[in-house]
């Protein structure tokens, strides 16, 4: 309520201000009447347009915002038939027109019936400042923050009076901070006294992001004396802050890579870690999971396009079922004949991986397949100076969820108990009535199914091609070996450690050398701890 009232007072104030500005100028005065302003916006010279924009901003009339916005977006036209200035809303190839003066809706016409109002870079800059300062007084705090940001970037001294006004009755704390920062940025561009500027530097340094750094560095390069010192201090503060954020960013990237590694390796932690089966076709299980997602999305696209956002929820159980079934078939068909001969298992499953890859290549073609992100997985999130893409964030939580679920199955279900019993002492477990063959098949199916789940997640961030699995198999084995065979917690720790180490090495050594360094480190580490970070102890070890 009070806000609307003050807005009106403000508008009055601004009208006086404009009059002052207008009379103060040597050139012919810009008419303050709306129709004339609009006419100048469309038909004047570039310099006249610029002045008209400033005048329009100074009226504070929110009805100008759509007109200026349209001009900035190249959507302001003159109608060829009668020269009327109109705002065009694109509708397919045509434009729905609004009268620029009254904002009344007119007819929809083709682009050919319109002349675009031309702008140059100076005009465009004036437009963004004008739009920015007009929205500074908007009743919506989010819009006020956006406007303050745009003023912060431009640092245009023209915005100062409006900023001061906006600050006077700002109620939201976040918007107030942003407005103060914008004001500080503007102050640096005026001829305010040094003390005011030093205070402004402090305000900007406290903001501490990359934009603040750019602004302060720019200011430092032209500052002298006390101001220079203050600017340098400010730059140093911001750089320190950014350094901390950069570390945080590496950690988040590392955790994200770690979660991908964890997903790829955790199925292997079951088949290799718990059962001791070297499954070189594990990567292909991941690939099959990704292709299942692709098939599900294709079906949804053609039959139920409105379900697209739910496609992953449909793909997850399907991928688990498909790869789990393939896994059981592999165990019953090949692997069970090779227990106790790990090297032969390795070769046979490698051969199997070639067959699976070639099968997929024959069916789906050798090129990458397009798997889309559902809307809730696109976009990104900002925390301080770091940004996290939503798909990475979801994959992180998905990996943790899968991990927790597996741990639960292993420790809290009777199937998990049987599984551990068979691993530890096959004969004894058999003697107690456990059908060891069935447990073997199910365990392998579980590991493969989890690989399929990883495939669903990886389809969101990686290329879905027949070679998808190949790129993960070596990494996954290293993770399992590094973490210690037969230990899910070890796998978790190893995946996260390798992910973070990799991301910290990358900026110094480059992506490829960083990866090589990690490989060498793991090889060296295995020398020191041949059985991984968390080795199994006891009799089972030598068996």
């Amino acid at each position: 309520m009070t806000r609307v009232a003050t807005m009106q007072v403000l508008r009055l104030l601004l009208v006086f201000l404009v009059l002052g500005v207008a009379f103060g100028q040597p050139q012919p005065a810009v008419a303050e009447d709306r129709e004339a302003l609009v006419a100048t916006l469309a038909g004047g010279s570039f310099a006249e347009k610029e002045r008209a924009i400033q005048a329009a901003a100074a009226t504070g009339d929110p009805d100008f915002v759509p007109v200026l916005q349209a001009m900035a977006d190249n959507r302001l036209f003159e109608r060829k038939s009668d020269g009327r200035v109109v705002v065009g809303e694109p509708v397919g190839r045509n434009f729905r027109l609004l009268d620029a003066v009254t904002l009344d809706e007119l007819e929809t016409v083709a682009a050919g019936a319109l002349d675009r109002v031309r702008v140059n870079n100076r005009v465009r800059r004036a437009l963004s400042v004008a739009i920015g300062s007009m929205t500074l007084l908007s009743p919506d705090p989010a819009q006020r923050i956006r406007a303050a940001q745009s003023v912060f970037r431009s640092g245009d001294p023209e915005a100062l009076p409006i900023l001061d006004q906006a600050l006077l009755d700002e109620t939201s704390d976040r918007a107030r901070t942003r407005l103060e920062q914008a004001r500080a940025a503007v102050i640096l561009n005026t001829d305010a006294p040094d003390e005011a500027k030093i205070a402004a530097i402090g305000v900007i340094a406290a903001r501490g992001d990359r934009e603040a750094l750019t602004l302060l560095t720019g200011f430092r390069n032209q500052a002298e004396g006390e101001l220079l010192e203050a600017a340098e201090r400010g730059v140093a503060t911001v750089e320190r802050r950014l350094k901390t954020w950069e570390m945080a960013q590496h950690v988040t990237f590392g955790l994200s890579l770690g979660s991908v590694l964890l997903l790829a390796a955790i199925g292997l932690a079951i088949t290799f870690g718990v059962m001791g089966v070297i499954n070189m076709a594990h990567g292909e299980m991941v690939m099959l999971g990704a292709y299942t997602t692709f098939v599900v999305q294709q079906a949804i696209r053609t039959h139920y396009p409105e379900l697209f956002d739910a496609s992953l929820f449909i793909a997850i159980p399907l991928a688990f079922a498909v790869t789990g079934a393939v896994g059981i078939a592999i165990e019953r068909g090949i692997i069970r004949w090779l227990y106790g001969r790990p090297l032969e298992t390795l070769l046979a499953t490698w051969g199997l991986s070639l067959v699976l890859q070639q099968t997929v290549r024959t069916i789906f073609g050798p090129t990458n397949r397009e798997v889309g992100n559902p809307s809730w997985m696109s976009g990104s999130m900002e925390i301080g100076a770091i940004s996290i893409t939503m798909n990475r964030l979801w994959i992180f939580f998905f990996a943790l969820a899968v991990f927790a679920l597996l741990l639960l199955i292993l420790k809290r279900t009777s199937f998990g108990l049987e599984m551990r019993a068979v691993t530890q002492n096959r004969q004894m477990a058999g003697a107690m009535g456990i059908r060891t063959g069935r447990v073997d098949a199910l365990t392998f199916g579980l590991g493969s199914g989890v690989a399929g789940l990883a495939g669903v997640a990886l389809s969101q961030i990686d290329n879905v091609s027949p070679n998808l699995g190949q790129s993960y198999i070596i990494d996954s084995f290293l993770v399992v070996v590094f973490g210690g065979v037969g230990n899910l917690w070890g796998t978790l720790t190893a995946a996260m450690t390798l992910g973070i180490v990799n991301k910290f090495l990358e900026p110094y050594a480059g992506a490829v050398l960083g990866k090589i360094a990690v490989l060498v480190l793991v090889i060296l580490f295995i020398q020191k701890r041949p059985r991984g970070l968390f080795p199994q102890r006891g009799r089972a070890v030598e068996a």
């Binding site: 096959r426 004969q427 084995f477 490829v512 490989l519």
Partner: protein, 388 residues
């Protein structure tokens, strides 16, 4: 002679066969003209020459896998390193005949604005030095890698996986352009070797003979190693490593010796391979390549040496035939081969032949039959037995 004892009758026959091929193939290529029924085309000469180098590589793998139980999934790396050493020599021989006509720097270095030859290229214009490097570079890498691995008792599949990681890391490294090995294009466009133009029929024949000789030498060395007391210890390590250690043998020393020897043989094979195919690039380091090599040995029959050679030739002949006749199906065939060999023919072609011969003998008792020693008797399916 000592060697006669180690070679045995089969060994002599094998050497004789290789010698015949080594003489006959280049002779038929040089002495006859195209169209003559005895003529062997230049394509066949380099193809068979390539198979001979693969055969040497297979012997190297069989030596460690068949006799010592070390399954290396990184032998492609030693092969490729030997190849790179040879490739560097051949690249230096191009001299100023490259596209950029720089007297010292290879084309790819001029292209990426290098001003001087990096230190690790020094000396490679000298043939003897390059040949020394063919032995030393893979040998040293194998020695260091093996020393680290065997000393801390990294065995079985763990060793396989980290050796695969090793070749993967090398592949990534050699793909980098600023490593100074030509990046993903590798080294190619060779002109001549020891002053002979590399494309000439006579040079190709010479390289063929050299490959045959190297294969024969490699076979004799492998026979000598496996037939000696050292070889007996290696087999003991393969079958019961802990027990051998408890008997007082320094297991890691034996393993290290045979692993390094094997890597050097692989390096020589690579060095002979490169001039015959005319290119070496980082693709040779791919882990898939190394695993394929292991399958040659598995197909032929491991622990037999001759089997390794037969497997290498058979699989590669199959590959050549498949990739021209049914390119789509080669990977199916290779994959099926992996599975079939491990499931149904764990002893490979030679093993199957030996059991067939043994079975025939058993049908017809022959008082003069000698007892064939089957090196794989201890390796049939054991469930819950000590890990290999």
């Amino acid at each position: 002679m000592l060697l006669t004892r180690y070679l045995g009758e089969g060994g002599w026959w094998f050497l004789f066969a290789i010698a015949v091929i080594g003489i006959a193939v280049p002779y038929c290529n040089l002495a006859f003209q195209p169209g003559d029924p005895f003529y062997v085309s230049g394509f066949m000469v380099s193809l068979i020459g390539k198979f001979l180098t693969y055969a040497l590589l297979a012997i190297a793998i069989d030596l460690i896998w068949g006799y010592c139980g070390i399954l290396s999934l990184g032998h492609g790396a030693f092969f490729a390193l030997g190849g790179y050493a040879m490739g560097m020599y051949l690249t230096r021989q191009i001299g100023d005949r490259g596209v950029y006509a720089h007297p010292v720097l290879p084309d790819f270095m001029v292209f990426s604005n290098w001003t001087e030859l990096p230190w690790y290229w020094w000396g490679f214009d000298n043939f003897a030095f390059a040949m020394l490097m063919v032995l030393l570079v893979p040998g040293t890498l194998a020695f260091v890698f093996g020393w680290l691995a065997f000393r801390s008792r990294v065995t079985g599949v763990y060793f396989s996986i980290i050796s695969q990681a090793m070749t993967f890391a090398l592949m990534l490294a050699f793909f980098r352009n600023d490593m100074g090995f030509g990046g993903n294009n590798g080294l190619t466009d060779f002109k001549d070797i020891l002053g002979f133009p590399i494309q000439a029929r006579e040079t190709r024949a010479g390289l063929f003979v050299a490959s045959a000789v190297a294969l024969m030498l490699g076979f004799m060395i492998a026979k000598a190693v496996t037939g000696s007391k050292l070889g007996q210890v290696l087999v003991a390590i393969r079958d019961a490593e802990s027990r051998t250690r408890f008997l007082g043998y320094r297991v890691e020393h034996y393993k290290l010796f045979v692993f390094t020897l094997s890597a050097m043989m692989a390096g020589v094979a690579g060095a002979l391979y490169v001039p015959q195919v005319g290119i070496i690039n980082p693709g040779e380091f791919t882990p898939a390549n190394s695993i394929e090599m292991v399958v040659w040995v598995a197909v032929g029959g491991r622990g037999t040496l001759v089997g390794a050679v037969i497997g290498a030739v058979a699989v590669n002949y199959g590959k050549t035939w498949f990739t021209t006749a049914f390119p789509e199906f080669w990977l199916f065939a290779l994959g099926a081969l992996f599975i079939a060999v491990t499931l149904f023919f764990p002893k490979g072609i030679v093993g199957a032949w030996n059991s067939y011969v043994g079975w025939m003998r058993a049908q017809k008792p022959d008082p003069l039959a000698y007892k064939s020693r089957d090196p794989l008797t201890l390796d049939s399916g054991r469930r819950g037995a000590p890990a290999e």
